[in-house]
Amino acid sequence: MRAELRKLTTVRSTWLLLALAQVVVIAGVSGLMLRRDDPASDAAQRGAIAHVGLVALFGLLAGIVAMAGEYRHRTITDTFLARPRRSQTVLSKAVVAGMAGAVFGISASATALVADAVWLAAKGSSIDLANAVLWKTVAGGVGWNVAFAVVGVGVGALIPNLSAAVASALAWLALVEGIVGELIGGGARWLPFALGQALVGLPNSADRPAVWQAGSVLTLYAALFVAAGVAVTTRRDIT
């Protein structure tokens, strides 16, 4: 586990993703606050802080890189020579990615709250830190980050070609989930991105899954991806 942590922190892509995440959050919060006439309302506050959830995209990429990056740079050979029980490697990576997802989510939350406070002050209002909506949204956003980072490790194990894995994940989020959603109609709210949104209380409609439901199903997705990743990894020839 310490080795996995060291792997993650000694490559620059991890820090780059973390920095980019903050930029996205600042831009997202600013865009929303500029547009709204009622910046202090619950809806506006939820919408602003919900940008923390979007950072899950970066956690997902970090998870993919943690696993598929080992195939890309052929360090997987050294890893499996050190630990012939390959399931151990995938599971440690899942745990460390989950921790990284939490770091992404928490740092993005801090950034979002600061950006939110600055915009509210600029508009002659002030941030209400006692408002439960803020903290529910933060908690949901962090959970979304953790789940997606773990899913990333599973994706990287299933698709060891790094570029293919990243392309597939981005295609799913940008395109495929929408199309699949159209095909399955009501089931669309149980797809991964929709569940992440439900965690931060979006969209504002009655048929969105409850936070506990979204959290459970997203955890199930993460577990399934990791389990499938383990199954495939233990059978693969490293040539």
């Binding site: 080795a3 060291r6 792997k7 892509s13 997987i76 050979t77 050294d78 630990r83 020839d237 490293i238």
Partner: protein, 230 residues
């Protein structure tokens, strides 16, 4: 004193046979593991190390399969290709990660760096390394656990003449120490200077297994056994 034993070892990739019913024992000392391109050398070594799953047969180190060794890195050190490094990490970071995941004390990192003469460059990113330096880093990784068995695939690749002379000395010393050193190479002149025994593969089968001293001329024998043209 640890023997490496291959027994009926076979691997097919789909319909393509890579290694066929290979049986031989490699004992302490230096064994040259030879064969033309595509003879199945690398596949055999990867099966021995648990990276490739045999279609049939077994490969054992001291009587156990690699995956069954409680601390594999303390028993077997391997250099398979000099490309298994993240370019953004330094040699020291790479070895620290390797020591961590192998359950070895971090103090071994400095020893291994010194053993291969990389102390001065240890904190540079591998991106800027020459092939020879990567090869030395690969050797440091193999030596990290102070193992009784070393499996080295083309360790001389990219080394300059001084590096080759150094490698020759290192391998001879390791063999004389009573370690089982398996070296695959295409450079027969190098093998001739260090090996006690040679194993020669051709088209995935065993063509020769015996002491180097028993072969009149290694190159002529190699070409005869593997169907090459002299």
């Amino acid at each position: 004193m640890t023997d490496v034993v291959l027994h009926g070892l076979t691997k097919r990739f789909g319909a393509v046979p890579a290694v066929r019913n290979l049986t031989c024992t490699m004992s302490p000392g230096v064994t040259g593991f030879l064969g033309p391109n595509g003879a199945g050398k690398t596949t055999t070594l990867r099966m021995l190390l648990g990276l490739v799953r045999p279609t049939a047969g077994t490969a054992t180190v001291g009587g156990r399969r690699y995956a069954e060794l409680p601390q594999p890195r303390r028993v077997v050190g391997a250099l398979l290709d000099a490309t298994g490094f993240h370019p953004g990490r330094t040699a020291r970071q790479h070895l620290l990660i390797s020591a961590d995941q192998s359950g070895l004390p971090t103090a071994r990192v400095a020893v291994a760096l010194q053993q291969v003469g990389l102390e001065k460059d240890a904190d540079r990113r591998v991106r800027g390394y020459s092939l020879g330096m990567r090869q030395r880093l690969g050797l440091a990784t193999a030596l990290l656990g102070d193992p009784e068995v070393l499996v080295l695939d083309e360790p001389g690749n990219g080394l300059d003449p001084a590096g080759l002379a150094w490698l020759r000395g290192l391998l001879r010393d390791l063999g004389a120490d009573g370690r089982t050193v398996i070296v695959s190479s295409h450079v027969l002149a190098e093998v001739q200077q260090i090996a006690d025994r040679v194993v020669i593969l051709g088209e995935g089968t065993l063509r020769h297994d015996g002491p180097l001293a028993g072969l009149p001329g290694l190159e002529a024998e190699f070409l005869r056994l593997t169907g090459g043209v002299a």
